[in-house]
Symmetry: T
Subunit: 149 residues, 12 copies
């Protein structure tokens, strides 16, 4: 890893491995690999490094967040369905001292009532939702900007 550059951890939550195949009218038809590829490109433009990780397991995501301490200067997380009930994820993000941004591909406020509440949102720097892959790019910029301050 290029130690001179800032590194950000990108966490994709449950079911995001289905990206591009699943409910494309909601999530678009970009695959997760393609999304990650684009994120690397975008990161490079901004002079930072991103490491991307997807898991369907709440425990794995917690482990990754814990392991981020000292290794990453920021976290971008799309918690997927965990947004709505994983208080453990919330506590993990609140427990590590790393700025984080919550992203969603879709506009969660334009979907079912139960998707309108994120238990994660109160402990992150900010939330970006509704812009498809762009939600991630914007989060990248937000983190870079945050670190520049």
């Amino acid at each position: 890893m290029d130690s001179e550059k800032r590194s950000f951890l990108v966490l994709h939550g449950p079911n995001l491995n289905l990206l591009g195949n699943r409910e494309v009218e909601i999530y678009g038809n970009l695959s997760l690999e393609e999304l990650n590829g684009l994120l690397h490109t975008e990161a490079e433009k901004l002079g930072v490094i991103v490491e991307c990780y997807q898991s369907n397991s709440e425990g794995d995501l917690l482990d990754r967040i814990h392991g981020a301490v000292g290794n990453y200067q920021g976290i971008i997380i799309n918690p997927g369905a965990f947004s709505h009930y994983s208080i453990a994820l919330r506590d993990a993000l609140a427990g590590v001292d790393i700025p984080a941004v919550e992203v969603h591909l879709s506009n969660i406020y334009a979907r079912e009532e139960f998707r309108h509440r994120s238990v994660i949102a109160p402990v992150v720097q900010g939330q970006i939702c509704g812009f498809g892959p762009l939600s991630y790019y914007l989060a990248l910029r937000a983190l870079v900007n945050y670190c520049d301050r």
Copy 2:
């Protein structure tokens, strides 16, 4: 695997490995192995194959559902306690294009208030609950019938 026959994936959620030992007045005293054995027998009668899998891990169940694409023509799922909060499980089932049936051994509507709501039910073909192991056999028939259409 007999490629001529239809295959269904039977997923048992958390704590169902305790079957036969745990709260037998609610769940009966058939063990999970015995239940699976009976399901194979029943499936054979109907000319289909079932593969049974139990896990206490939400992430594992998600992985199995994702992995079912192209391999199974139907899913029978007893989500156990996950019925009441695992939106991730709901999203997984909604995300793969495989007909699914939710089953419960007990009548969840005759138990504690918090068991009356299944977050899974809105995304499956139908729900069968309250008939003990028979709930699974009926689900098998429902899937066979669905595929015959």
Copy 3:
């Protein structure tokens, strides 16, 4: 009536007489007469007798349930809209000592919020919903199985 055979009472609640004509995208295009015909056929295969009755009147359904004591060994009931508010129907089913199964043609959990709660479900053996006419056939099997125990 064939006194050697078990008899089950099949009760169709309000508006089910419209079957096949009404909202066919939800309820299918089988008429109630056709459904009852198929139920007789199915029952015959299982060696039991079914008697089918439809009413739009809550009071009539109560009378039928009361009258079932000593005449039927099981009840299959599709309470239709009464599922959601007829506590009288619930009390009738709880008050007679006959095993009963609640069925729905559609998956009530995939429809409007107010259809997600059945006041009937807590007092029956089990509930089967979402499989169209098959919901009834499966209920038949569940009752036969119950009586065989």
Copy 4:
């Protein structure tokens, strides 16, 4: 009918015809006929006439209440399960100018949550519950007392 004496209408709501056979641990083992007999005896002691009527049909009960105008000086009603949702019954009782008393055999406040609210109670003179058949006798006295004022 003895035109010199006051007449009261006693209305028994849905499922009360099952009295003595149904859930005897809750409702006791007196049959409805026996209860009515005792009510006539009790009424005679108090110098009044009672006419008793049971129906499982909300519409019948409404008709009876409407028909009571000019014929009865008081109404005793055990609305059974209708207590909890029949606003039509409430409106009927509010619409006729006859003093009424709501009775329940069981203590509805010691049972399921949904039985704790009576939509009838706000429009009657008073409510008596929990004393078995005695609930009716006490209601008789309450009506006699009311008419004596």
Copy 5:
């Protein structure tokens, strides 16, 4: 019946037979017969026929609605207390393909909280309330207008 003219079915729900005698400060002192008479007159002016029917029975009203198919070009319904809980009535109106208008003599939104919600309203063309008998006349015009389109 004059086969050239359009026919509308006017349904009066529970307790409306008491009209003119009951709670006149809310419902006015016109009797139901007088109201029906005026409706016929009003209909004649508009070149249509109305047939009026009142019932205290939910089941009867359902039967009438079902029977309206092919016989009436529109339905005017004052569901009375059924407005607030009869999902069966709602389903009946949704199930037949006839334009319907919900009317109320009183302004239900200026009365008790529980009268503010109509389960019928979402399935009709529109709702008119608060104008006494005029509510019905306006509904007549609305239906005529609807059929003219």
Copy 6:
């Protein structure tokens, strides 16, 4: 005290000392002393003894209920405002093994919403409300009847 006779404790809760002076349109104009006098007369007719006690203090009422063990065969309690929140009073009544009846002068279900719920009702034999002083007399009869069984 006449040891041959049954003794009942009559407890009047907070503000009932104002009886006859306070909100007479709701509670009537009989004073508490007069009410107690009438209760003694009524008791005498029934061959029992009543002892009456009023307190504005929740603690005093608890002490009286505790002290009733071994001294009274029944309790009549008008918990007044305590009905709606004093779980301590509920626990006291549940904790002593003495049949109790809850009474109210007014029909609490015809008053403000917050008076519709009694936390006491679930632990007594029954509840009588809305009949003014007669509520107490009927309670007396209920207790006598209960002891006679």
Copy 7:
């Protein structure tokens, strides 16, 4: 202004200036100007004058309602989105002594949950919704009828 004739004020609330251009599947494609023109025609037929005013500002609508005292014999108001939260509008209508009718082009009860409650409805004579422009014409008749009494 023709001083001999009755005058009614027609108030169109926020976003109604978009009429005919906005969400035509809900609101139809008549423009506000066309609607107002038709209202004048309709008024003329009924022998009354209407003055129409649209504003996106809650304050302006309040000023208009206040200014109506002494100048108009009735108010027709389509409060648009203000229906659901403008208690100020409610208070203005309740504060002036002019009969008012609330209208909606669409059936608000068939739309999103938050549109089912009107804070305006409890203080007007009545409400008419769901008939498109006809809602206004019917309101005109209702006001004329009201004034004729």
Copy 8:
């Protein structure tokens, strides 16, 4: 205005004129003028034009949104406190056919409960909150990106 370039309308809602002076620990100490200046700079970089407008009046904001039709290719709106109750604003945005992005300087989900619900969010493309002025820049990019598609 440079007709070759895309133009976006930036709307600042109530109290945002206080920016830099008010609750700086929440909103930062940049003034609104400075923010607008930076937005112009940022827009220039992206090859677009922004026009900024602040108002404390709901009606003014509605007028601006209506006036945007045909003049702007996108809207960035910080609805401030209106986010939580102005259904009129929601309807305005839904009524014009222009892509819109909702922004907030602060993370509204980390503040008081009543700020967690935006009635605007369901009708915009997406929402960005918590990044201070950067929230606006990111929204700019989101709109540019949207128009490029």
Copy 9:
């Protein structure tokens, strides 16, 4: 007592004896004795007499309110924590015919959610909160003013 002068009863509810020692950042550091002294001074200026009483016992406060009839022309009450649940206190104030004012030292609406509701407020003349000891002085003036009318 100076019989020429008006007398007001000042009631301090539970925990107000701790004043000056307890949570001084909320309640200030004036002791209850000092507060009472200042109230006497303030009363003298206004030509009235105040009698102050503090109790931690709900029953004692009720007794004092009952005892105020005929002895005081007004009541100032700081119900402390009783504000939020003592319906008995509410009934006592509603039961005596004496004008009363509710006061609070702190702004109860700026504190925990459960302190936002006073069950006392609906039955007093008015409420004053948030001004420390001044809340009481203002209440004194309000009562004097009320009696002068």
Copy 10:
């Protein structure tokens, strides 16, 4: 303006211009002009200046509050109906560093349920309600007292 004296801004919210004409049983028959006159007299006695302003427009009130910075030492606000939903007003008051007092002529807690909650109250010094015009005078004293500290 007398620069030696303290100046307070008195803001009257929507519909208060109707004072004296509207619902006089609730708000009294003093006109707004008379109330303002009395406030000036009262202010003079206290050695302060008041400037009074009424508006039916939320935006105008916000502008006035913003404009108060540096010009007034205190604000008295009767937010009228805005009390119950204008979070914008709340934010304005929280955003300027000027002590404020909320007043109401009527006792809002003795009226409709929806008037019991003020979204303004949590951000002002205190609240005074129920004393008619006196509510304002008391608020004046409270502000003078606050400034003297």
Copy 11:
């Protein structure tokens, strides 16, 4: 009292004097005197003194808590039924600067819904419930440990 040793106040709330006689399946059959005896023994082992006090009166408990200042180094309180509504008790504990522990004999979370919420718990050091008399011993240790820090 041994001035060298630490002293703790043990407060038993309402109905705890019934201990050993009341609902023994929930509370055990140890009497309060026996429990207090055991607490003294246990305290001695830990080198501290306990003083035990039971009251059915909320006011008495408040007085005791107030009186504890300067006399006790810790408070153990079993608030009994007061746990669920006595905000006065909460305020008393919050108002004195003494570490306190809330104890319950039974597991309140395994009982009726209304026992799941303690208004006391947020202001004490910690809560121990479900261990019978052991709950108190553990609380003793917790206080000793707290004081040792």
Copy 12:
């Protein structure tokens, strides 16, 4: 393992591996290793063995609980964030026949609202919270005591 001694399983839920590093003002600065060390020491004093296990995975914790059958005589569990939603964890503990105690380092009732409800609490022997590491020691004593009975 010392087969003569009792063994208890100590389960630490999600994020507890961060102990000592995370939010030390809430959880203290003892690391998990240190806590486990102290627990072993404490256990030794009590003559029992403890085995400690931490996991961020719900599934792992379920596996451990299932595996405890026959191996441990008691379970101490700090479910962390899982307390508030893991019904699977609740079912696991209810499904194995081993006494269990729920512990929390912090007083969960003094924190955010969503932490006040534990879905675990109803199925364990008791709950201890708020005492930091001492919560665990007290739980150890509770289990020893339980086994001694």
